[in-house]
Point group: C2
Chain length 388, copies 2
C-alpha cells in the first residue's frame, strides 16, 4: 500500500478546559475547521478516534452522531478505539479507506476527540487504566504515572541520568508549545519548576505528566493523485502503519523496549522508502519524559540508554539534529487521549506546509508521528511528506 | 471497490451466560475456532468489534490485548465501535484492509465480542442508551425497549396489525434457532407464550426482546483471488457497505424509516451487482419484532406497512419466499451487542457453504446481512456469495 492518501485540510480546537463545550461540540468545531481548510469538499466517510466518551461524557456512538450533526446523513461513519492511540488509529483507518477506494469517490474526514474534564481527576486515572491488561495492571491498583515511575527509576539505575536530566524532555515540549496557538500550556518551564512540583508517583512530578485537557483535531483526506487539484499545499501520507506489542512490561523483551513502536516505525520507513535520516522532525508520544526518551531510542535516534543525552544536549530542539514535538507534544500542547494522534497529524501538516510560524523546521520535507496506547500496547506511525 | 475480500474461516462460541469466561476468553475461543477453520494461516491484522467492554467488563483496548494473547505480537490490531453494530463494522474495516492491501500479504482476522452478564440488567439498559443521542433520548430516561414500544404502537395504529401479529417475527427467530448449536434460546416459542410474558414497555413483552447474553464470533479474510487456494469452500464478500442515518426519530423522514439501512442496502446491492430478488436469505437486525418487520420493508421485501403480513403468512420461513434470520436472529440466537454482526457473517457463511444442517436454505447462492446500532443510527450491510 504505497502513498495511501493525501491531506488537503486540517483543523483543531485549543487544548484546554472547555467547560462550555460537549465532546460533540469539540468534534464539530475541529471538523468544520478542517473541512473549511480543505475547501469543503463532498465527504463520503467519517472516522472518529475517541478513547472513552461513554464513561467520560455519557455519550457513545460518536461517529454516527457526528455524521448526523455535520449533516452528513448517509455517509459511512466509523469509530475507532485504542485508548490514547485512538486518534492516529482513526487516521490510519481513514487512509485505508482512501486506499481501498481510490480517487474520485469523495473525501474522507478523520477526527480525534476527547472531553476529559466532565469527570474528576481520579476517574480519569481509573479510566486510563482500562486500556491496560486488567488481570496484571488495573486490578493491581497501579496507575499510568505509577508505571512511568517504575520505568523512570529503572532507567535512572540502568543508564545513569538523574531525574532532572530526564525531565528535560518536558522542558523541550514546553519550549515548543509557546508558539502553538492551540497548546494547553503555551509557556516555557524550567527543570527546577518541574522538580519543585508535587510528586505524583515517585520520582514522577506533576509537571512531568500531561495535564487533563479537552480537545479535538481533524484532517481531510483524499487520494494522493487528486490532492494537487484540491489543495495548493497538499501533504502526502507516505506510510501509515500500526503494530501491536506486548501489553505487560513483565512480558516484554526488556523493560525498556517498545516493540510496537519498533515494528510500526520499521514498516513505515520501509513503506515510505525513506531512512530515519531523511526525517525532518518527529512528533512522539511522551506519556511522561522517560517514555519520550525511550521513543527516541526505539526510533534509532540514539542507542539504548543514550536518549536522555540527546535531550540534555538539546539535539531535539527546533534547529538542532532531530527536532522533536515541534508544537509542544503531549506535555506542552496537551494530551486529550483520543485526539492526540490527530493533533500530531495537524501539527506535522503545518510543518510540511511551512505554516508552523516561529516553530517552523527549516526545509521540512518529511515528518514522522508516533501515537500509542498506554505504554506501548499499540503504536501508530505515520510518515508525512510535502506534496509538491 | 468490487469483491473486497473472501471468507476462509469462521467460528463462534455459544451465546449464553458464560459465567466461567471473561470477555477476552470468549474472543480467544471464537478466534481460535475461526483460525482453525481457515487452516491457521499467518495473520497480519486483527479487527475487533465490541460495544462497551470498558464499562461492562473493566477491560478496554481489546484488539491490542487480544493480539497479545493470541501470540500475534506486532500485527495491526484495531478496535471498532458503534454500539450493537460494532461487529459488522469491524468486519467492514477488515474487508477494507484486505482491499487496500491485495493478495499475498497474509490473512485478516475479524472478531466481534460482548460479555454482558458481568453487570446487572438495569446497567445493561443504561449502557445501551449511551449509543443514542444523549441530548434527546438517554437524558429523557427512555430505554431501547421504550423506543421500540412507541414504534410498535405507532405501527399498529398506522397499519392495523395486532401486537400478536407483530411478535410472529420473534416466533420465526425461535423456530430457526432450534437447529443452531450456538443459539442462546434453541427452542420454539408460541405467540401466546410471548403475549403471556411480562410487559417490558407496553406493548413490548419480555419474550419479544433479545436476552442478555455473552458471545463471540470471528471470521478469517483474505483477498478473493487467493481464497480458492486457501479454502475448499470460500465465501466471497461481494459488497460491504456502511451508512449513517438520522439518530433521533423526531428528525427522520418518517417514524418508520430506517434511512441508514436503505442507503447501505442500496449501495451494497449496486456494488454486488445483484438485485434483492437474487438474495437467497437475509439476516436482519431485529432489536424487537417491529424493528425486524421495518427492516423487511426497508429492504424492499414488502411495501411500507405490509411487512407484518409477510411474517404472518410465513413467507420469511426457511423454504418460503424470503428466508429471514435462518439461524435464529437477535431473538433466537441471541444478541451480544458487539458480536451480533459477526454471528450473522458466521451463519451466512454456514448457509453458503451448505453447512447449515436442518436449516439449510436449498441452493443458497447469495446472502444479505444487516447489523445496525440502536434503532438505525448506523447500518452495515454485507452481501456474501458462494465462492465456487
Amino acid at each position: 500500500m504505497r502513498e495511501p492518501a493525501a491531506i488537503i485540510g486540517v483543523g483543531c480546537t485549543r487544548v484546554g478546559e472547555h467547560w462550555e463545550s460537549s465532546v460533540l461540540d469539540l468534534a464539530v468545531e475541529a471538523c468544520l475547521r478542517a473541512l473549511e481548510d480543505a475547501g469543503n469538499p463532498p465527504v463520503r466517510a467519517l472516522y472518529v478516534g475517541n478513547a472513552a466518551s461513554e464513561i467520560l461524557n455519557e455519550q457513545g456512538n460518536l461517529a454516527a452522531l457526528l455524521a448526523d450533526v455535520l449533516a452528513l446523513e448517509g455517509v459511512k461513519a466509523v469509530e475507532v478505539r485504542a485508548g490514547d492511540a485512538s486518534g492516529a488509529l482513526a487516521f490510519h483507518q481513514a487512509c485505508l479507506d482512501v486506499a481501498a477506494h481510490g480517487p474520485g469517490e469523495g473525501a474522507v474526514l478523520a477526527c480525534g476527540v476527547e472531553k476529559m474534564t466532565d469527570v474528576l481527576a481520579p476517574e480519569v486515572e481509573r479510566v486510563g487504566m482500562l486500556f491496560e491488561d486488567a488481570r496484571c495492571t488495573f486490578h493491581s491498583g497501579i496507575t499510568i504515572p505509577g508505571l512511568c515511575a517504575l520505568l523512570t527509576r529503572l532507567y535512572m539505575d540502568a543508564f545513569g541520568p538523574s531525574y532532572e536530566d530526564i525531565v528535560l524532555f518536558a522542558v523541550n515540549d514546553h519550549r515548543n508549545a509557546v508558539n502553538n496557538p492551540c497548546a494547553q500550556y503555551p509557556f516555557p518551564i524550567k527543570p527546577e519548576t518541574i522538580m519543585g512540583s508535587p510528586i505524583v508517583a515517585d520520582p514522577i512530578r506533576l509537571f512531568d505528566t500531561p495535564g487533563i485537557g479537552d480537545g479535538a483535531a481533524a484532517a481531510v483526506l483524499c487520494a494522493p493523485e487528486e490532492a494537487p487539484k484540491l489543495s495548493d499545499t497538499p501533504v502526502v501520507v507516505r506510510a501509515s502503519e500500526v503494530a501491536s506489542g506486548r501489553m505487560n512490561f513483565c512480558e516484554r523483551e526488556d523493560m525498556f523496549s517498545i516493540g510496537s513502536l519498533r515494528a510500526a516505525a520499521k514498516r513505515a520507513l520501509e513503506a515510505a522508502g525513506v531512512s530515519i535520516k531523511d526525517v525532518s522532525f518527529f512528533e512522539v508520544h511522551n506519556t511522561t519524559s522517560v517514555v519520550g526518551i525511550l521513543a527516541l531510542e526505539e526510533l534509532g535516534l540514539a542507542e539504548r540508554g543514550e536518549g536522555w543525552r540527546l535531550v540534555k544536549e538539546e539535539r531535539i530542539a527546533i534547529g538542532a539534529d532531530w527536532p522533536v514535538n515541534t508544537m509542544g507534544g503531549l506535555k506542552g500542547r496537551g494530551h486529550p487521549w483520543g485526539a492526540t494522534g490527530l493533533y500530531q497529524i495537524v501539527e506535522a501538516t503545518w510543518q510540511l506546509r511551512g505554516e508552523a510560524g516561529k516553530n517552523q523546521v527549516e526545509g521540512a520535507q518529511v515528518g514522522l508521528t508516533h501515537n500509542m496506547s498506554g505504554l506501548g500496547s499499540l503504536s501508530c506511525v505515520h510518515i508525512l511528506a510535502r506534496g509538491r
